[in-house]
Structure formats: structure tokens, C-alpha cells
Amino acid sequence: MSFDLSLIVETVPKMLAGVGLTFQLLGLSAFLGLILAIVLLLMRISGKWYLDWPAQLYIYVFRGTPILVQIFIIYYGFPQLEFIRESVLWPIFRDPFGCAVVALSLNTGAYVSEILRGGVLGVDRGVLEAGEALGLSTTQRFIYLTTPIATRLALPAYGNDIISLLKSTALASTITLMDMTGIARTIVAQTYAPYEIFISLAIIYMILTFFLQKFISLIEAYLGRYTKRES
């Protein structure tokens, strides 16, 4: 058994060619997932059962099933349904990239909405009461008090979810997409050198994770500036 260094030198650039696709999947799904999460959050804290219950059911289903199954249902399963094939959304569901983005967004939205809810529930009730006593309306309290404080509280958990999302993008390779993992799997199938290829790729992902984490802690430090006793 040997560890072929020249193979690594040769294949790493090939895998890095897929980093663009990985980032597209990550960026788009993170953005769409966040919007979905905010909608779900508003439904959950609306105090109206006909909004709260569907949101709870959604979160329960999407957190209770594997993301891979969700990807397969959308990519392989949806074409079975005629109304989807005839809908205006068909171009999205016909395309593996569209399916991956939809599945990842739907999945991360469920997790993130619970993270955001944790932040909202963590806001000190006294602070909201003070706003109430000053005559701020419910909407004003939500915008000026709850949102900024909850954002800071939710950010560490949100950062972890973004990293989970980065790792989940690798599953796009199971529906023919040539992201970094997809390329790596093709190369391994040809060279049969799993150690060299997969370990190199793992290191690439770890570097990406590292930078994502750094970026998130920068935002955390900025948002948390008012929690430090020394200015």
C-alpha cells in the first residue's frame, strides 16, 4: 500500500473546480433557507393555531427525516407526479441543481427556524416590558428590540447550521451533480485511490469550515460588542 503524492497534486485542482458549485449550493440554500426560516418563525410565534400548527408539522417532518431521503423524493420522486411535470416549476425540478437547492433550503429552513425561535425566546422579558411601558407597539418591539437581541443570541447556533449545510451540499453528488464530492467520487472510481482523493477532499472541506467559522465569529464579535464591560 502506498500513498501517491503525485496523484494528489494532480487531482486537487480538479476537485477544486467543483468548489464554485459547492458555494452556489451553499449560498443559495442558505439564503432561501433563511427566508423560509423567518416565515416559519413568524408563523410559530404568531399565536394563531392555524399558522403555528402547520409550521410545527413542517419542522417536525423535515427534521425527522434524512436529508438524503428529501433529496431523493424531490429529484427522483417528483417526476412521477403529473401535476409537477405540468407546473411552471418543472424546469427547476427537472434540473438536479434546482432539486438540490430546493431540498437543502427546505431542510435547513426547518432547522434554522427553530434556532431563531430559541433566540426570540431568549430575549429578556423585562426588556420587552420596558418597551411596552414606553408605548412601543408590538411590531416596533419586534423590530427594534426582539430582532437585534435574538439575532445575537441565535448566531452561534446559526453558524453551526451553516457548517452543517456546507457538509450537506456534498450529498448533491448523489443526484449526478459534479460538486467537489461528485468529482472526487468520479476520480476514485477511475483511479481506485480512495485515501489520497478523499483525504485531500476532507482537508479542503475542513479549510472551508475553518474560514466559515472565522467569518461567523467576526460577526459574533461585532454583534456582541455591547456585552463587553470594557469598551
Partner: protein, 230 residues
């Protein structure tokens, strides 16, 4: 429903495989997590570094990559080792069950490491000091104060780790484990109904998740019965 006739038993046995992988990986995950936490809490710098490396690697790498690496990698390694003894061996196959089980246990174990470590450190030093001041022995403090307190702190995240494990079992179908997702693929081959089959898989997993969630809730209620005063 009639679509599924002839596939019920396959899905049932697929679910059994899911349950087996889950239970085996659960045991391993706890072991990895405890070793990792002990290593991080140990005074030894080198041991701490290794444990840190373990958590960084397995939390920063996509799950599917770990599974593929362990499956193909261990096959190659085992083949190489066998050839040392018998040059005629062409290829040693590693059962996807064990490659997959160890892989997801390693991944989730890296998260459990932090959970166990946090729970150990989260025990209020005051309780420990009070117990010592009352004359309890080290072992008594450990079993009567530390363990129950840790249990209470670790249970909610531990429930999430179990949910991660059950969901990660689906990934093992990629290396050919005959669990439910694998069964669905075969069923689709003959019936041509991918949506129906994958929905069945989704429902099976939702069932597993529900059972785990309810179990954890029951355990939490039991674990918190002492601190629910108000």
C-alpha cells in the same frame, strides 16, 4: 397501497437493518464520545491535542465523505494486509454494515465528545463541595452527585445525537447497505414509482425519529423530577 404489495416485507427487513445500525452505532458513539471527553478533560497535552484533532476532523468533513473513505479505504487496507499473508487474494470486501456503522458513530461521537465534556464541566462545583463537606467519599460523590447531574445536562443534546444517528443511517445505502433507501431503489426498478417508494422511506424514518423523541422526552421528565419544584 396495492403498489406496495410484495414490498412490505422488504421494507420491514430494511427497517430492521436501520434499527440494527442505529443500536450498534449508538453503543460505539457513546464509547467514542466518552473516550473523547475523557481525553479532553485529561491533563495530558498530547492526549488533548489528539482529541481536539478528532473533533475538528469529524465535525468539518461531510458525513458522506467519511462513509466513503472508511468503506473504500478499509477495503484497500484489508486487501493489502491479507496479501501479505496470501498473495493470491484479489480483494477483501468490507461489509458496508460495519464500515457505515463505525463511520456514523465516529461522526456523531465527535459531537458527543463536546456534550459529555460540557456536562462534566457543567456540574455545579458547589454541589460537589457540599457533598465532600458532608463527608461523602470520592466514589459516592461521583455516583450520587456527578452522574445524576451530568445525565440531566447531557440528555437534551444526547437526544439530538440519537436523531442524527438514525438519519445518518440513510447515507449508508450509498455504499450498498440493504436498508430502506436501498430497498426503495430496488422497488422503483420494478414498479417505476419513485415518489411512492421514497415517501414510504420518509415515513419509516419519521416513525423512528418519533420513537426516539418520545423516549428522550420521557427520560428528561424522569431526569428533571428533582428540579421541577417551581
Amino acid at each position: 397501497m396495492e403498489l406496495l404489495s410484495g414490498w412490505w416485507d422488504d421494507f420491514f427487513w430494511g427497517s430492521v437493518v436501520v434499527a440494527q445500525v442505529f443500536l450498534a452505532s449508538l453503543v460505539l458513539m457513546v464509547i467514542f464520545g466518552l473516550i473523547g471527553a475523557a481525553a479532553k478533560l485529561s491533563g495530558n497535552r498530547i492526549v488533548q491535542k489528539i482529541a481536539n484533532g478528532y473533533t475538528v476532523v469529524f465535525r468539518g468533513t461531510p458525513e458522506i465523505l467519511v462513509i466513503l473513505l472508511l468503506y473504500f479505504g478499509s477495503a484497500i487496507t484489508l486487501t493489502w494486509i491479507s496479501r501479505l499473508f496470501n498473495p493470491d487474494i484479489k480483494f477483501v470486501d468490507v461489509p458496508p454494515f460495519w464500515a457505515g456503522t463505525v463511520a456514523i458513530a465516529l461522526i456523531v461521537g465527535s459531537y458527543a465528545t463536546e456534550t459529555f465534556r460540557g456536562a462534566f464541566l457543567g456540574v455545579r462545583p458547589g454541589s460537589i463541595e457540599a457533598a465532600k463537606a458532608l463527608g461523602m467519599s470520592g466514589l459516592q460523590v461521583f455516583f450520587y452527585i456527578r452522574i445524576p447531574e451530568m445525565w440531566r445536562l447531557a440528555l437534551p443534546p444526547f437526544g439530538n445525537h440519537m436523531l442524527s444517528l438514525i438519519k445518518d443511517t440513510a447515507l449508508i445505502s450509498i455504499i450498498g447497505l440493504n436498508e430502506t433507501l436501498f430497498v426503495a431503489k430496488q422497488a422503483i426498478g420494478t414498479t417505476g414509482k419513485p415518489f411512492t417508494m421514497y415517501i414510504v422511506v420518509g415515513l419509516i424514518y419519521l416513525g423512528f425519529s418519533t420513537v426516539i423523541t418520545l423516549t428522550v422526552m420521557a427520560l428528561e421528565r424522569y431526569g428533571n423530577h428533582t428540579v421541577r419544584a417551581r
